[in-house]
């Protein structure tokens, strides 16, 4: 299916990206080319093949990977706050989301 400007606008909204008109036009062109290249994969017969959700893992390698639920070391709040937070702030600040 052809990649239209409407599709790019829809995908950009899903991805929370704003594109200007120039960006939209160049994305339509580039993404069309790339998707047609991806379409090559349609030739490949994958019937009766399982999807590889995880990389093959040897059992002995990952056995016991789940650790006990023990409280570990944490970080200083100051180090974790956004550098643009006001001095002394204890929270991440975002625009008001409730009226």
């Amino acid at each position: 299916m052809a990649i239209t400007k409407e599709i790019i606008e829809y995908i950009a909204m899903l991805a929370r990206l704003q594109l200007d008109e120039n960006e939209k036009n160049s994305m339509v062109a580039d993404i069309s080319k790339i998707i047609s290249y991806f379409d090559k994969l349609k030739e490949l017969d994958t019937s009766n093949i399982n999807a590889m959700e995880f990389l093959v893992m040897d059992e002995d390698v990952f056995e016991g990977a789940l650790r006990d639920d023990i409280v570990g070391k944490s970080y200083d709040r100051e180090d974790l706050l956004h550098p643009e937070e006001e001095e002394g702030s204890e929270y991440f600040t975002v625009p008001r989301v409730v009226e």
């Binding site: 929370r16 704003q18 998707i35 991806f38 994969l41 990389l55 975002v94 008001r96």
Partner: protein, 488 residues
């Protein structure tokens, strides 16, 4: 011979014999960066003050006899997508230009424990998305062999710094070839370890089912030394293997007698630059003359590896990069109207074009109606590709071939043709798809005197055989001894 031309093992000798102190060596390297980096632009951040402090500390520990690692006091650089506590880690993006990590990546901690001295953070493609380091928000790194050409990517700063002697060694990350291809373009040694061998804790995620951290060094011996230090289990990375890793310096054996080597004919077809084909065929001859058994094989699935890789990688990237919304870290848009505007503008102003293109592609292949046709299909293709490589490894100990179909190209030459750029990853991406280890080592020069890399691919967790083959090739050839002139 000048100090920056020495390898890790040679400098370790000099430091042990008190012929040079760690602060002297560190000062020398910082001065070299100062004089050379305005031309090559390898570093995003140079950590002069911390480096000198670290050098003094390490020298004291060596004098007291409390530190005896082969990496002790050796100055190195780290790709700028690997977190360093208190030192900016930008991913070469405007998005993370203000990000100072509150912790060290596992590999960084391991290197510090071994007495490594950090010189600075190295340039890369933005969020490791690219093969030329041209998508960096900050600067374009030049290839030390020809400063009008790219160093490769995405670990282009790491490879160029090692090749030019602006770092004795460096760490890079490899999602689809980002250690091996720049190593090949710059004439150094680059290893992508088996998926699971090296912890990614503290590596900024791009495509989590492919990403691996690995060393870029001057020699195979140095590669084994760095790998020894960074490999091993880390509970902070769920994919980190619990398997005990061997001492990789034990694999530095000059012998390939009886080694079974496969050369896929798809790796030396007409799409590959002739100089590179000749260099790879010459490598086959070197191995055969040393008693290895080389045979041509076929891996017909090769024509599907690039679309498979990109569909999965970009799907994972679109998900991983969803965290950049301006809230907890990273670029924040000014004067937002509301939360949605805050998120959308922070992302749109913070990310560069290639990152946006990849997020959009990843979102597309995961979106309702296209998920099965692209993403699910690619996961099935991944099963087939992995199976074909594993099948080849039932008969062969290693597979060899080129790293890239071309040598280093001119800055700006390919940046406007994304499909062409993606297609040139053909020989490196299957290794990430199947989670295998692979190394790039120097194996010749093209007609323009640009370096050519030989790729040696091994079985999962069999870095030992990869290193042994690479070491044997290196000991029987002189390609790794050449230095770029840099008009010094």
């Amino acid at each position: 011979m000048k100090l920056h031309e020495y390898t890790i093992s040679q400098l370790h000798d000099l430091i042990s014999k008190r012929e040079i102190s760690v602060p002297e060596l560190t000062r020398y390297m910082l001065d070299r960066i100062e004089s050379l980096d305005s031309k090559l632009e390898c570093y995003i951040t140079v950590t002069e003050k911390q480096a000198m402090e670290q050098a003094e500390k390490v020298q004291k520990m060596i004098d007291e006899g409390t530190l005896n690692s082969p990496l002790a006091g050796i100055p190195m650089g780290i790709k700028d997508n690997i977190c360093t506590r208190g030192i900016p880690t930008t991913c070469a993006s405007k998005m993370l230009s203000n990000f100072v990590p509150p912790y060290d990546a596992h590999v960084v901690k391991k290197l510090y424990d071994n007495g490594a001295v950090l010189l600075g953070k190295l340039n890369m493609d933005e969020f490791a998305m690219g093969s030329s380091t041209e998508s960096s928000h900050f600067k374009k790194t030049k290839n030390p062999w020809d400063t009008e050409r790219v160093p490769g990517g995405s670990s282009g700063g790491s490879a160029a710094a090692v090749a030019a002697g602006e770092a004795i060694y460096a760490l890079g990350s490899d999602t689809g070839g980002s250690i091996r291809q720049p190593a090949s373009f710059c004439g150094c040694v680059g290893l992508k370890p088996t998926y699971g061998l090296v912890s990614r804790f503290g590596l900024v995620a791009y495509a989590s089912s492919f990403d691996q951290i690995g060393p870029l060094t001057k020699t195979v011996t140095d590669c084994a030394l760095v790998l020894n230090a960074i490999a091993g289990h880390d509970p902070m990375d769920l994919t980190s293997s619990r398997r005990q890793h061997p001492d990789y310096t034990k694999a530095l054996v000059n012998d390939v007698k009886g080694l079974k080597i496969g050369l896929p004919r798809e790796f030396i077809d007409d799409s590959v630059q002739k100089d590179i084909r000749d260099a790879v065929l010459n490598a086959v001859k070197v191995f055969s003359d040393l008693g290895a058994q080389c045979e041509e094989i076929s891996i017909p699935i090769m024509e599907y590896v690039v679309p498979t890789y990109y569909i999965i990688a970009l799907a994972e990237a679109s998900s991983n990069l969803a965290r950049y919304d301006g809230v907890k870290f990273g670029y924040r848009a000014a004067n937002p109207k509301d939360m949605l505007d805050f998120c959308m503008r922070s992302r749109s102003e913070g990310f560069g074009t290639e990152v946006k293109r990849r997020i959009l592609l990843g979102t597309y292949v995961l979106s309702s109606g296209y998920y099965d046709a692209y993403y699910k299909k690619a996961l099935k293709a991944r099963t087939i590709i992995t199976r074909e490589f594993n099948k080849a490894f039932e008969k062969y100990d290693i597979i060899i071939g080129p790293v890239s179909p071309t040598t280093a190209y001119r800055i700006g030459e390919k940046i406007n043709d994304p499909v062409q750029m993606y297609m040139e990853d053909i020989f490196t991406v299957p290794v990430n798809i199947a989670g295998l280890p692979a190394i790039s080592i120097p194996c010749g020069f093209d007609s323009k005197s640009l370096p050519i890399g030989l790729q040696i691919i091994g079985k999962r967790f069999d870095e030992t055989t990869v290193i042994r083959a690479a070491y044997t090739f290196e000991q029987n050839t002189d390609f790794h001894k050449a230095w770029p002139s840099l008009n010094e």
